[in-house]
Subunit: 165 residues, 2 copies
């Protein structure tokens, strides 16, 4: 295994997740969702969609808590005619482990997810990029998730709390 | 809308996606998946999991094409007893638009997804980070998706093809 090279843990506790279920899995469906968000000027942070089944896919994204109400309302209008449903939005905490040269996510993921599992914290969503693994957990698990992530990677408190301006 | 600030488009055509369906949505389930990958030294690139339903969640990740067979085999062993199923792995192309200061994904997402929709390209998976929006498309759509993304953001050919060493 490559030496795990995580340099810090970041937490964002100001996000609400909005899930759109049973979106038609055809070109243009997701574009309509984000056009609606762009039109009302809502900043979208996390976007996660997994492979669909039987022609339908679920798409979840997160917005700042203060925009949740108007984002949910705009979503219901945007997808109304497609048959998709917009779930109730829920506050989440997004906890990310960051590290340059995380060439292989499997070692870091295994260590991070194990630490959350030991603490009994369930992951709601997972999303990765070259230098980061982000997970959404229930809002009330955010601080504990950050603490166990620090311990798992031997980091002293390097949390960057993202209070968006 | 903020000025859309995309600086480049990257494509990785050497990835295969492996989907684990009906994974128990409880702490430890995802950790077992990546422990299995870490133990056989397979480099995992994209990891996507959306919110589960009825206590089950679907988790998809991508590995280099040359590791697909042994990764799929290790996955079947790792999740066998949990009742989850491992789908057939499929070659994908991961196309990412990259730009610093993409404070709001909604404007970039709307533009990128619209361009794919116009070209009739279906998105299989979506994953984001602060500076990037990545989508998985069918392998044969990779080049066209890259071309339309360049055109949508007014970029000359800046593709960084990621032939992993
Ligand atoms: C579900 C959604 O992503 C659809 N596949 C699209 O391309 O818009
Ligand atoms: C589905 C999987 O992510 C599970 N929720 C876990 O925490 O491991």
């Amino acid at each position: 295994l490559e030496a795990v090279s995580v340099s810090g843990v970041a937490i964002d506790k100001n996000q609400v997740r909005i899930s759109v279920q049973e979106l038609p899995d055809r070109p243009g469906a997701a574009a309509a969702v984000f056009k609606a968000m762009a039109e009302i000027g809502v900043v979208v942070d996390l976007i996660v969609q997994n492979v669909g089944r039987a022609g339908k896919a679920n798409l979840t994204f997160s917005v700042p808590s203060e925009d949740a109400y108007r984002a949910e309302k705009a979503m219901r209008e945007a997808v109304g005619r497609t048959g998709a449903t917009v779930g109730r939005s829920n506050k989440i905490a997004k906890v990310s482990v960051v590290g340059v040269g995380m060439r292989s996510h499997s070692g870091v993921a295994s260590c991070f997810f194990d630490a959350l599992a030991e603490a009994g914290i369930n992951m709601l969503m997972i999303s990765t990029s070259e230098i980061k693994i982000s997970v959404a957990v229930n809002h009330e698990d955010g601080d504990e998730a950050t603490r166990v992530a620090h311990a798992a990677f031997g980091l002293e408190k390097k949390t960057r709390s993202r209070k968006k301006a």
